[in-house]
């Protein structure tokens, strides 16, 4: 009986949490399916309207920006490329950095690691001028490479991989050595498959991090062709339902990534070896 009551209470609390998170999104979604005129006269809506296809297709394909040079679709593409690039490169660089720090007899490996770790104290906003100067000298302004490279090494991801590698027993490396593996093959055949779940978790974190970038793309791009979704959100001056539709669509790419990698992601976060 007490079990039943406590389970009811638990579910009640969880339901409240769920509502707090879901209801605002639902209201935006429901409102985005009405015409702007209807919302302006009747306020936010809780039920679906019949302008869904109209609103969404208009937002996706309408030329916008200051010079009307970009569509929302192009912004999604840009953001997706940038976020995927940042996530992929971060995973690769941090995997390799951690591998080097843990498995090679590097002098002062711990010191080097802490040096990398300290960069967490220097966020992009602090080093934005030097980063911009470097990128512009490399002629990378208004390129995807310019958007991606300066934020494609992650100290926190290196930290995760390093801790994980340290928990792998030495015997595994020794057995593999006796089986004739070399450093490169050990990395490919052992460390990458073993850290699969960790890779998924880091990939998602870095994807969302990259997707949410605002200041860096704002500074790095002068051509509207390279605008990202987050920049677009700010310049959506259209009707209220268009803006709502854009907001809803802007959430979709991270959600898709999470849905696809969810199983691995959760294992990665709660990994206890």
């Amino acid at each position: 009986m007490t079990k039943y009551i406590s389970s009811t209470i638990n579910h009640f609390i969880l339901s409240i949490g769920l509502l707090i998170m879901v209801v605002p999104i639902w209201i935006i979604f429901a409102s985005s399916t009405h015409s702007s005129l209807f919302i302006n006269t009747n306020g936010l809506q809780f039920f679906l309207g019949d302008n869904f296809i109209d609103n969404y297709s208009r937002v996706l394909f309408k030329q916008s920006g200051f010079f009307n040079e970009i569509t929302a679709l192009k912004m999604f593409f840009n953001s997706f490329v940038m976020a995927t690039g940042i996530a992929t490169l971060s995973v690769i660089t941090s995997l390799m950095a951690a591998y080097g720090l843990v498995y090679f007899k590097v002098k002062y490996a711990t010191f080097i690691f802490w040096l990398i770790f300290i960069t967490l104290l220097v966020p992009l906003e602090l080093r934005i001028m030097p980063s911009y100067i470097v990128m512009s000298k490399l002629n990378l302004v208004n390129t995807f490479a310019g958007l991606i490279l300066p934020i494609s090494a992650s100290a926190i991801a290196t930290f995760f991989f390093r801790q994980f590698y340290k928990s792998i027993p030495d015997e595994l490396l020794e057995a593999a050595k006796l089986d004739g593996t070399n450093s490169f093959r050990f990395f490919i055949d052992f460390l990458i498959p073993l850290s699969k779940t960790m890779i998924a978790a880091v990939f998602i974190f870095m994807f969302v991090f990259g997707y949410n970038q605002y200041l860096w793309p704002l500074i790095m791009t002068t051509s509207e062709q390279y605008w990202t979704v987050v920049m677009g959100l700010k310049t959506m001056y259209g009707s209220i339902s268009d803006r709502f539709a854009f907001v809803i669509m802007s959430m979709i790419p991270p959600v898709i990534i999470i849905i696809f990698l969810q199983k691995l992601f959760i294992q990665g976060i709660f990994q206890n070896k």
Partner: protein, 348 residues
């Protein structure tokens, strides 16, 4: 020239600890050698140096005529079974066994045949598709051995491979390892701290203490003629009784007991060792003692008693009726004792 030769091998760790000291050893082809000693005595370090997993500070190791000091472990053609098996957790049993072969560039078909043959030999052919996490301890042990066997190496190295198994399984695997080694005739080195394993498995036993080889010999030699006090104490269960005594003209004085050694030795500070089963209990015995404690082991029993202030034990058939507190008479033959000089610690 022997198959495997260790010459004056020394290992000093960077922190200054001397793990192995000036060890020389020859091992013949096909031999099963057991390194035994208490934990921290350097036996695993010695094994790991043969495998190439540990640098050699001084000395030379040669295998099959080639000096292998500087050769990478992957090219030494040795296989090792680790204490915790070290199976590759993300690979199936088949791939665990096949990995070493793949790295040697052997054709897929040959790998298939070899792995299947070895799996049948070890009765793990039903498990080939499973991951290590889905196997029991005994099965993991078999896979670890399979991984070593399938490569057909020059030497098998076993680093306490049975210590994670329960007692029954351990006995079973011990017999199996012995059988497989006989069958394949591959030179093997087995490291253990368990003297029963050492006695039952080895063609020859190497007793190691504090990084120094105390004695090398067949199990029988080691048991019947221990070279040093340490070996005497370490090998044999229950432990050999060691009495501090003074020897005058071939007669050992232990408290008020006298044992005639039938020679003319004179040592002021000696240790007299007697195996618990060499103490003969009989009503005609010259000496008598009170049994302080009787341990019943089924077919045998062990009696704990004291001569003067020195404790000793004797092992006898449990058919004899003797209880704690009883007085018993016994006899010690001067020919069945082991005599050690305390100043050198070695056999007299």
């Amino acid at each position: 020239m022997s198959f495997l030769e260790l010459q004056n091998i020394t290992k000093i760790y960077p922190n200054g600890t001397k793990a192995v000291n000036e060890t020389s050893l020859n091992i013949e082809n096909g031999e099963f050698v057991v390194f035994v000693g208490p934990s921290g005595c350097g036996k695993s370090t010695l094994l790991r140096m043969i495998a190439g997993l540990e640098d050699i500070t001084n000395g030379e190791i040669s295998l099959d005529g080639n000096i292998i000091n500087k050769i990478d472990p992957s090219e030494r053609d040795v296989a090792m079974v680790f204490q915790n098996y070290a199976l590759y957790p993300h690979m199936s049993v088949f791939n665990n066994m096949a990995y070493g072969l793949k790295n040697r560039g052997i054709s897929k078909e040959e790998i298939n045949n070899k792995v299947n043959d070895v799996a049948k030999l070890l009765e793990i052919d039903q498990l080939l598709t499973r991951k290590p996490s889905m196997l029991s301890g005994g099965q993991r042990q078999r896979v670890a051995m399979g991984r070593a066997i399938v490569r057909n190496p020059k030497i098998f190295l076993f680093d306490e491979p049975l210590s994670n198994l329960d007692a029954k399984l351990r006995n079973q695997m011990r017999l199996e390892i012995k059988r497989l080694q006989r069958q394949m005739g591959v030179t093997s080195i087995f490291v253990t701290h368990d003297q029963t394993e050492a006695m039952t498995l080895g063609d020859r036993i190497v007793v190691i203490n504090n990084g120094v080889v105390e004695q090398v010999g067949t199990p029988k030699e080691i048991y019947s003629k221990p070279n040093t006090k340490f070996v005497a104490e370490f090998i044999g269960s229950p432990q050999m009784n060691l009495f501090n005594c003074k020897i005058e003209n071939g007669i050992a004085h232990i408290a008020d007991m006298k044992i005639n050694l039938n020679n003319s030795t004179n040592i002021d500070d000696a240790t007299l060792g007697i195996r618990p089963d060499d103490i003969l209990i009989s009503d005609n015995g010259k000496h008598s003692c009170v049994a302080n404690l009787v341990e019943y082991l089924g077919s045998d029993m062990i009696i704990y008693s004291k001569i003067g202030d020195q404790e000793f034990s004797c092992k006898l058939s449990s058919k004899i009726n003797l209880n704690a507190g009883d007085t018993f008479k016994f006899e010690i033959s001067g020919t069945s004792v082991h005599l050690f000089d305390n100043t050198t610690g070695s056999r007299v």
